[in-house]
Symmetry: C2
Subunit: 282 residues, 2 copies
């Protein structure tokens, strides 16, 4: 497994693969890899001849006051995970390699889509995500790119960016991976104290509650969301950011649940903001 | 020479060329081609194995009230010009092919650069330019892209976009091509009445005046700009939008001219807005 810290190294390797007629998959990550990331790498290795994984804590998707500095990092462990799961090239650039001091070009959706859900409290987040993913697309020129369904709004926005900007890249969404007790895997779970770790189960419990209600025939979004919110609110350490039902392509709120509706939530457990979601019928 | 109206056709042809190991040059145009465009195609044909020219009047770079509908079009003539100058593939998409009805992804520079010069009166123009050029980059995946120095701010912005978004594309700027009497070639020259056509010479005359003053040692920007403005203002049909001296990389105003300073102007001749410029010492 090759480790590249410069854009030039990545280009050289990808071009060599292209000359051999090999396909390339990209898994963009911020590192501190867990089983959710590993499942993306597995899928990329199954779908593509070669797999590039980027490990880069992208500053442009953090707002001032968010956890950019605190975000957990362990590149040695990341490399061990990636080697085991069939990654061929790790791209681990510095901030300086990715962003010149006067960098000013951005990619963003000028629609309501990035303003919904997480966008309400993180108004510049998805602009940073789109910009860094666009850069990674230009550096790696993958045939396919792999993203987790846990970040459902990110996945929908990247799909839209790829369509609207005419990228010749297939975006593959991969299922949420959960701990044995249901908690969705997240690098931010490391922030949780033992007590908060237990409290964090209200998210996946609310997911299961909503899934069950829909399975039993409840399609009124407010009734389902109200039950989910009530379950979360009963946990003293939990503070709801949002629990919403939206169209999974546009991220716009819906009143009635139907097959494929995205039900998504963001909840603070202590100071840690966690997200989880499900797609009805999936 | 192949004519493609769909993105899929372009991709198929470019991929076939890539398999043969051929390099590809892109010349983005809005059609109604003149000798300036032809010089870009000539340069692309000299530099690259295959040349793609896009002919697309891009709606996202026009604001309401600008000349989107009036913009001159003559695709039959364009094809004759392109055939003669060694274009291999013309990409002539419909607006619908380029922009889905709910397209919302944009590329832009969030700096002062696109707000200077033409950006003062056309605040959304360069966002439209960056977006369509990014799309053309993703569709054609050229090795090199060719732009005219006449649109100096556009060229500088595209260079910055390519740098900041890590495109593996060389941007080649090509000299202004002028009519025998000095008028810079522009598709918009067709708007001019015979009387306006004569009046339009004040732009290239002002360029020569500025060049001469700099050649004779005048480096005070205000003195040079004042003389240029006075020359233009003496023409009753001319109305100055701007005459400015700026750093050619950042587009920020400079007080002293030095080698490589961009001196640029936009002037209304009647209702037609024309631009011209020179680079000191070039």
């Amino acid at each position: 497994m090759q480790i590249a810290t410069t854009i030039a190294e990545v280009r050289t390797q990808v071009k060599a693969w292209r000359r051999e007629g090999l396909t390339v998959g990209l898994v963009p990550t911020m590192g501190y890899l867990h089983a959710g990331h590993a499942s993306l790498v597995d899928r990329a290795a199954a779908d593509c001849d070669r797999v590039v994984v980027s490990v880069f804590v992208n500053p442009t998707q953090f707002a001032p006051g968010e956890d950019l500095e605190a975000y957990p990092r362990d590149f040695t462990h990341d490399c061990a995970v990636l080697e085991k799961h069939g990654c061929d090239l790790v791209f681990h650039p510095s901030v300086e390699e990715m962003y010149p001091p006067d960098a000013s070009a951005y990619v963003e959706l000028l629609s309501e889509m990035p303003k919904q859900l997480c966008g309400k409290t993180r108004p510049t987040h998805f602009r940073g995500v789109c910009t860094v993913v666009a850069k990674l697309f230009h550096i790696v020129t993958p045939d396919k790119a792999f993203f987790g369904q846990k970040d459902a709004q990110q996945l929908a926005i990247i799909r839209r960016m790829v369509r609207d900007l005419s990228y010749d890249i297939e975006v593959v969404g991969c299922p949420i991976v959960r701990e044995a007790d249901g908690l969705a895997m997240s690098s931010r779970n490391t922030y949780l104290s033992p007590q908060e770790r237990k409290a964090a189960l209200v998210l996946s419990q609310a997911v299961r509650l909503g899934q069950d209600m829909y399975a039993k025939g409840e399609t009124d979004a407010e009734i389902v969301l109200h039950a989910m919110r009530a379950h979360i609110a009963a946990e003293p350490l939990a503070k709801i950011d949002y629990v919403c039902a939206v169209d999974n392509e546009t991220m716009m709120p819906v009143l009635a649940l139907c097959e494929g509706t995205l039900v998504a939530m963001a909840v603070y457990i202590g100071k840690t903001r966690l997200i989880d979601n499900f797609i009805t019928g999936a």
